[in-house]
């Protein structure tokens, strides 16, 4: 008998949850963001700032990759797509077919930094050398003047915007070897390099910290200065895409123009990326 009452109580509870708030959503503000794991931390920080100032706003950020962000925008499943690369032709076509007209907003500049474990004495490589590492030509660091340690090349998944940039500007569109480990996101790549002595990976500038060592690429060290000036060879803009230009004064508009404010740029810089203005 006691168990029956428990069951009734549980059903009552669930019923209450299900029945209750279906109505009150009319006046609420909801923003859905999906996409890149590189832009993700910026979007997260913006979202927190907005929800702090507008407690009734609900902002969701999903970070599964630039490709998913584009797909979600095309399907109408999100308001803003975070992408660390420009949209592909396929995606534009899909969008227009669906009546969606993507507009890009550049919120920050980023440099794809090649990182190794801090104990690796190597401090610079050329893009050719990096390309050859990922093609499997070099398998041991001592072939490049480093210690006798097996190279563990780590790459982002093939649908990632970071991967696209690396693929275009460093790999020159050549294929990577099969033995390359694939990780899902910038933080995962960072954590693999942090814990594996022989690892080499590429991450967004915002993910370079004391636990990994950024290499000079063709003699240029990735930093806010070299990226902003364009001297670092693997720089790229970070985008937030919307369907058309958002209505002035709408929450979407506020969100995608937040990076132009001083506070927004502070946040961009605090996250380790390169602000696009000299605020």
């Amino acid at each position: 008998m006691r168990k029956l009452w428990m069951l009734v109580a549980v059903i009552g509870l669930v019923g209450a949850v299900l029945a209750a708030p279906q109505s009150a959503l009319a006046a609420e503000t909801e923003l859905q963001l999906e996409g890149s794991t590189t832009v993700g931390p910026i979007a997260d920080a913006f979202a927190e700032e907005f929800m702090r100032n507008h407690p009734d706003w609900r902002i969701t950020v999903k970070k599964t990759g630039s490709g998913d962000g584009a797909a979600a925008l095309v399907d109408g499943r999100c308001d803003i797509a975070n992408m660390s690369r420009f949209m592909k032709e396929k995606e534009f076509k899909n969008a227009v077919d669906n009546g969606v007209f993507p507009v890009a907003h550049v919120v920050a500049m980023d440099g794809v930094s090649v990182v190794v474990h801090p104990s690796n004495p190597i401090s610079e490589l050329t893009t050719e050398q990096v390309r050859d590492i990922y093609k499997g030509k070099y398998t041991n660091w001592n072939q490049l003047g480093g210690p006798n340690l097996e190279i563990v090349p780590i790459s982002r998944d093939t649908s990632s915007g970071t991967y696209e940039t690396f693929h275009k500007l460093v790999m020159k569109k050549e294929k990577m070897a099969g033995g390359v480990e694939y990780v899902k996101s910038n933080p995962q790549a960072h954590s693999r390099v942090k814990t594996t002595q022989g690892a080499i990976a590429y991450v967004g500038l915002g993910f370079v910290d004391a636990y990994v060592k950024a290499l000079e690429l063709d003699g240029v060290m990735p930093s806010q200065k070299t990226i902003a000036s364009g001297t670092y060879p693997v720089s790229r803009p970070l985008y937030m895409w919307t369907n058309g230009f958002p209505k002035l004064g709408s929450p979407t508009h506020a969100f995608v123009t937040f990076h132009l404010s001083e506070r927004g740029q502070e946040i961009v810089e605090a996250k380790g990326f390169v602000p696009i203005t000299n605020y």
Binding site: V61, N148, E266
Partner: protein
């Protein structure tokens, strides 16, 4: 004979060893998770933690907190003083700016006094020259030159044109700087500057933003170390500088630790480090805290602060809905198969299908959930678009259905025939006999099955990956929205988050919460089953 005996003994020993290995594996897997995770709730919290709780959640005694903060500030004051003083010698930009400011103020004063044009020009030139000499004194890295320039500046100290004007500040600054030059080694100013930056970064992690600094943009930088164990780590970073030094021609570099006291030996900053070490507990005032609010708080700054409340809610919602869908179907199916089934070939097909369902990999369930519920059924019914709790729980329901059916079947079969026959002989119909006699008798067994299914549904990640889960988002307001969940959140924190790596207790805390929930459910099921078997054995 001996060989057979030996192999027998070896066999027995091997069996015990294997079992020991299993227990060891269980402890190794659960141990770190439970212990480190528990430290998310039970830890030594510092005054920064209590400040955070007050600012964000208004928890705690405001009066006591204010007193504590005062005491902590008093303890920290010497540290900040030493740093400020040292910085004056290192960081010349503010000083240069100040000098320029003083000169401008003097110029304004002269204009206000409406002096004669030539006099104005001469005085301003004199002031400018003195200012430039001072700035040169700041910028040189040779002590002799600095002293020389300072002497030149101070030679004009008594000039009447500067008396009682803002320009007197320049002379104060010159006197000040002379003192600093004597204590700082100007040659190494750049080096000191860099080392100081590292120390300051670690110090900010330890004590929060330095007084006079602007409030940082991100909340995670606005407070110092909130836990004593993290404080110790940051203290290490302050007290020791780490460098990677070559270890040999073919080897990777090794870490070398240099005490910072040595780095700054002979400067005014050297006593900072032993002072910090000695008085840290005064500055942070750690106290054992039981932070049970961890289970109801939302996470802040991507889990740097806060708790796992929304994840727990998400997991509970998904699990309960899945059970709601699966249990009626499952119990009815089991009852039907036993009561009305028999050797019908249809029943054989149904059983095969149930076994098939039990064997389908969880990721295939996820694909099915995506292809059927998310893309097709729910939009068609107009119930939701895209990921939702509804889609996720329906997928989980299909996953646990075979478990419920099997457990219910076992439970119903275990009820002695005599019960049913007695009911029938008293005139009850078949259906009535089942509902009032067999089902209640089988209920404990069915409940065991339900509890085990709940534990399975709560722990599954793959089925909700594409159907219901998001990593960061608001608490869902209806079941037509996606949600966070403990299982997906644990995955995300283990591999996804760089911030999570800074707060390992939060990583482990989330997975510990999941494991504890699952373990509690399983232990409940085990106890229930033991009670049943005791009862049935009589």
């Amino acid at each position: 004979m001996n060989r057979r005996r030996i192999s027998d003994k070896a066999f027995t020993i091997a069996a015990y060893v294997v079992f020991g290995l299993l227990t060891l594996a269980l402890l190794l897997v659960l141990g770190p998770i439970l212990v480190k995770g528990a430290s998310a709730v039970l830890f030594r919290g510092t005054v920064e933690f209590r400040e955070l709780q007050m600012d964000e959640h208004e928890r705690g005694d405001a009066q006591a907190l204010a007193e504590e903060l005062e005491a902590a500030e008093a303890a920290r004051a010497p540290v900040f003083q030493m740093i400020a003083e040292f910085r004056r010698g290192i960081d010349i930009d503010p000083l240069v700016e100040q000098a320029r400011e003083a000169n401008r103020a003097y110029g304004d004063l002269l204009r206000d006094q409406n002096v004669d044009r030539d006099v104005y020009r001469d005085r301003r030139r004199a002031a400018r020259d003195i200012r430039n000499t001072l700035i040169e004194a700041y910028e040189t890295d040779q002590e002799a030159v600095a002293h020389d320039k300072l002497d030149k500046v101070l030679a004009h100290r008594e000039d009447s044109i500067f008396r009682d004007t803002p320009f007197e500040l320049i002379f104060e600054m010159a006197r000040d700087y002379r003192r600093i030059v004597e204590s700082v080694d100007l040659d190494h100013r750049d080096e000191y500057g860099r080392a100081l930056d590292e120390v300051l970064a670690a110090l900010r992690n330890l004590l929060g933003p330095l007084p006079g600094e602007e409030m940082p943009a991100l909340i995670m930088n606005q407070y110092g170390a909130t836990r004593w164990d993290r404080a110790q780590v940051h203290l290490e970073n302050v007290l020791w500088a780490e460098k990677w030094v070559p270890a040999g021609p073919n080897k990777p570099m090794v870490k070398k630790r240099v005490p910072r006291e040595e780095q700054f030996a002979g400067t005014s900053l050297a006593p900072l480090f032993p002072l910090l070490e000695k008085d840290l507990d005064e500055m942070l005032r750690p106290r054992w805290t039981v932070h049970w609010q961890y289970f109801i708080d939302d996470s802040k700054a991507s889990h740097f602060f806060g708790g796992v409340g929304p994840e727990i809610i998400g997991t509970v919602l998904l699990t309960i809905l899945a059970i709601l869908f699966a249990v009626p179907l499952g119990v009815v199916s089991a009852a039907y198969m036993i009561e009305c089934g028999g050797d019908n070939p249809a029943i054989l097909v149904i059983r095969t299908c149930i076994n098939t369902l039990a064997g389908v990999p969880s990721i295939v369930f996820g694909l099915f959930g995506l292809a059927f519920f998310v893309v097709f059924l729910l939009p068609w019914l107009g119930l939701s678009e895209g990921s939702s709790i509804l889609a996720g729980s329906l997928t989980l329901a299909v996953l646990v259905l075979p478990l419920v059916i099997r457990a219910s079947e076992e439970a119903i079969r275990a009820v002695p025939h005599t019960y049913k026959e007695a009911a029938l002989s008293l005139g009850a119909g078949q259906f009535w006999a089942f509902v009032t006699v067999t089902l209640p008798a089988a209920l404990p067994g069915i409940l065991t099955g339900i509890i085990l299914s709940m534990s399975r549904a709560a722990g599954e990640t793959a089925p909700i990956l594409f159907t219901a889960a998001v990593a960061l988002g608001p608490i869902p307001e209806s079941i037509a929205q996606p949600t966070r969940a403990l299982s997906y959140g644990s995955y995300d924190m283990a591999v996804g988050d760089r911030i999570a790596a800074m707060v390992p207790h939060k990583q482990f805390g989330m997975v510990m919460t999941l494991v504890v929930i699952v373990l509690v459910l399983n232990l409940a099921a085990i106890l229930l089953r033991a009670r049943i078997s005791r009862k049935l054995r009589g």
